[in-house]
Symmetry: C2
Subunit: 408 residues, 2 copies
Amino acid sequence: MSLIEERFARLATDNAPGQEVRQTGASGDVTLIGENIPGTPVDFSHGDVNTSAFAPTPGSLEEFVQGVHRGGQQAYTEYRGAAALRDEIASKLARFTGCPVSGSAELILTPGTQGALFLAVASTVVAGDKVAIVRPDYFANRKLVEFLGAEVVPVRLDYFDSGSQAGLNLDDLEAAFKQGATTFLFSNPNNPAGVVYSEAEILQIAKLANTYGVTVIVDQLYSRLLYSGTHYTHLRATEIDSDNVVTIMGPSKTESLSGYRLGVAFGASRLIDRMEKLQAIVSLRAPGYCQAVLRTWFNEPSGWMDERIAQHQAIRDDLLNVFSKSADLQVRSPQAGSYLFPRLPKLTIPLHHFVRALRVQAGVTVTPGTEFSPNSIDSIRLNFSQNHEAAVGAATRIVQLIERYRAA
Amino acid sequence: MSLIEERFARLATDNAPGQEVRQTGASGDVTLIGENIPGTPVDFSHGDVNTSAFAPTPGSLEEFVQGVHRGGQQAYTEYRGAAALRDEIASKLARFTGCPVSGSAELILTPGTQGALFLAVASTVVAGDKVAIVRPDYFANRKLVEFLGAEVVPVRLDYFDSGSQAGLNLDDLEAAFKQGATTFLFSNPNNPAGVVYSEAEILQIAKLANTYGVTVIVDQLYSRLLYSGTHYTHLRATEIDSDNVVTIMGPSKTESLSGYRLGVAFGASRLIDRMEKLQAIVSLRAPGYCQAVLRTWFNEPSGWMDERIAQHQAIRDDLLNVFSKSADLQVRSPQAGSYLFPRLPKLTIPLHHFVRALRVQAGVTVTPGTEFSPNSIDSIRLNFSQNHEAAVGAATRIVQLIERYRAA
C-alpha cells in the first residue's frame, strides 16, 4: 500500500454521521433477531432542522436574501470574511467569552466549524508533530491529525463518576506535553459525552499549556446551549498565553444553521493569518451570501434562545428517563449541547451490527462510539436535537432492541 | 524559520485577487507621477456579479429558497452532495463532455472549484512527489503543490505566436514526466491567458499521461464560455486512462454564482472516493442549501447563455481595441473565458508599484502576472466580466498610465 493509500485508508467515513446511506450490501452479514418495531424513523446522527423539530434562527433566510441583493460586495469578501461583519461578530464574541477580540486581526469566517477545525489544525501541526487528543472526542480531531502525518497522543476523559468535573485526566495531559505534544485539541462541551469542563480543569489546562508552550485549539461549538446549573469557563479568558489559543464556534447546532456552512475561529493573530492563507487555496472563503446570515447570530429574538434551551433540556430529561428503565445502560446527564453517549450492556452482537440492527429494525440511526474513541466499543452517540415525541419513541425502541440483543 | 513558518511564508496572499484591501501602509514607498484620472472604479481582480454587469443565473435564488424549505434533507446531504442532484448533474456533464459520468461513483460537489482543486490535489499528491504545473496558470495550483510539500516541475506555455495552438511546450511536459512527475495539473481554457488547448495538444497530453501513468487534473472552469470559432476538446473524452483523470468545473464564473460557493469534480472513482473522505474533515460538504442552486446549471433559460457569451465577446473586442492603441502593449485575444493577460512595455517602476499606481491613481484593480508565474513580471491579468462601459473606461485609463510610466 502506498503512503497516500494508507493515509486515506485511515480516513474511513463509512460510519460517520450521515454517511450510512453509502454502506452497501453489508447488511447480509448481520443476523437480525425478531420483527421490525414500527415507529417514526429518527436520525440521531445529526440534529433535525425541519420545522417539526428545530428550525433555523428566525430571520436567517431573510438575511441571506438581502445578502444576495447586495451583490458583488457580499459574494466576493476578503478570504477571511466581510470586514464589517467580522467587527460585529468580534464584539459579540468578546462579550460572550469575556475577553477582547479584534475583528480585523483575530477572527476568520470559515465554511462551517469543520472548516475552522481543519484550518486551525493544519496551520499549527506538521508531519511528525505530536498532538494531544481527548478520548472520546469529536471524530474528525483524530483524523485531522493523522491526515497531516502527525501523531495522536491520547488523553483520557473519565466522564462517568467525576462529580462536578468533566473528568479530564490531567496526568495524561501533562504526560502528553512532557513527551513533546505541541498542540492540544479538544471540544468543550465535549462531543460526544456532553460534559462541560469545570473551572478548575480549564485553569489547569491553561497553566499546563503555558508551562509547556503548547498551542490549544478549543472547539466550543455547543457553548451557548447550557442547561440549568451549568457554569462555563472560557479558556481564552484565563491566564493562558493569548498567542497560543484559538477558539472555534459556529451557528450550525444550537441555531440549526448547518445548511449555510458557517463557522468562526478567533484568537492568536499569527494563527488566524495562516488560516486565511490556507483558506485561500482550500475554499477561498465561507460562502459569500451565507456570511450575511451571521447577522442573526447572538442577535436572536428575545427569549428565543432560552426557549430553545428549555426545549432541549426537556427532551434530554425524557430520554434519560427512558434509558433509566434499561438495566445496565449507563449514561451521564449532559450539562450542555444535544448529545447523549450511553454505554450499552454487553450484547450478543458487535456494536456495529447493533447499530445496523437499530437502523433496519427500529428506524433509528445512531453513531457508533468507535468514531469518537477506539475504546468506546460499547457506546452510541445520539444527537437529541429532534422532534420531542419522535425522539422519545425512538429511545424506547432502542431500549427494546437492547433487551433483545442483550447477552445473558 | 520553522518548517510551518516556511510553508506559510510561501502561501502569501497579499497580491491575490480581492485581497488588496489588506495591504497596509506600503503605498508610501511608491513614487506616483501626475494627477489621479477620474472614472468609474473597476475591480478587474474578479468578475462583477451586480445587476449592472453580470448577475447570477435567473432563478438561482428561487432554487436556494426552495432548498431551505426542503429542510434537513437539503441541509444534511451525503458529504459528496445530494444523491439525486449528483445524478442529474452527472448526465448533464456526460452530455457536455461527451463521455459517461456516474453520479453515484464518479462525482462530488465541493465548496467552489477551489474546494475541488484542493481535494483533487491533496487526494493525489503527497510530500516529495513531483507535479507538472504550467507557467502561467491559476495562482493556487503552485501553492497547493507547495503546501503539500511536493515539488513543482514547470512546463512553459508560449501563448504568444502559437497559431492555432495554446502553446504548451510538449517537450517540457514529457521531460517533466520523464523526471518523475506523477501528476499534471492545468486549466483549460488557461487562466490567465485565455487560450484553449487545441485538439492536437489535448490528444498529446492524453498520450503522454498514458505512457507515463500520470494522473491529470484538469480545471475546466471556463469551458462553457467559448467565443465564436473556438473548438474545445474535453480531455476525459480522449483515449486517456479514465482511472487517471479528474475534471473540475463549477458555476462561479460564466454563471456568476460565486457567492454560493459551488464546484464539481468528476472522474476516476478511486480519487472521488478519497476526495469525499478528505472533504469530511475539511468542510463536511458543499453548503447544503446552496447545492439546490445547481439545478439551474446547464438548465439556463433558452438563449441566456448565448447572450451572455456575446456580451463578453463584445467587451473583449472593445478592450482589445483600446489596448491596440498603446504601442508595445502585447495581448493575445482570448478564445474563451473572461481574462485578458496583456504584457506591458518596459516601465520606469516595478510591476507591483504600477499595479498600486493603477489602483490609487486610476481606480483600477488588476492582478500582477507574478501570481501566475514567477516569469510574468511584465504582465497583468484582467477579469473583464464587468459592466461594459466601465470596463472600456478603465482600460483607457490603464493605457494612459502605461504611457505615463513607460520607460523612454
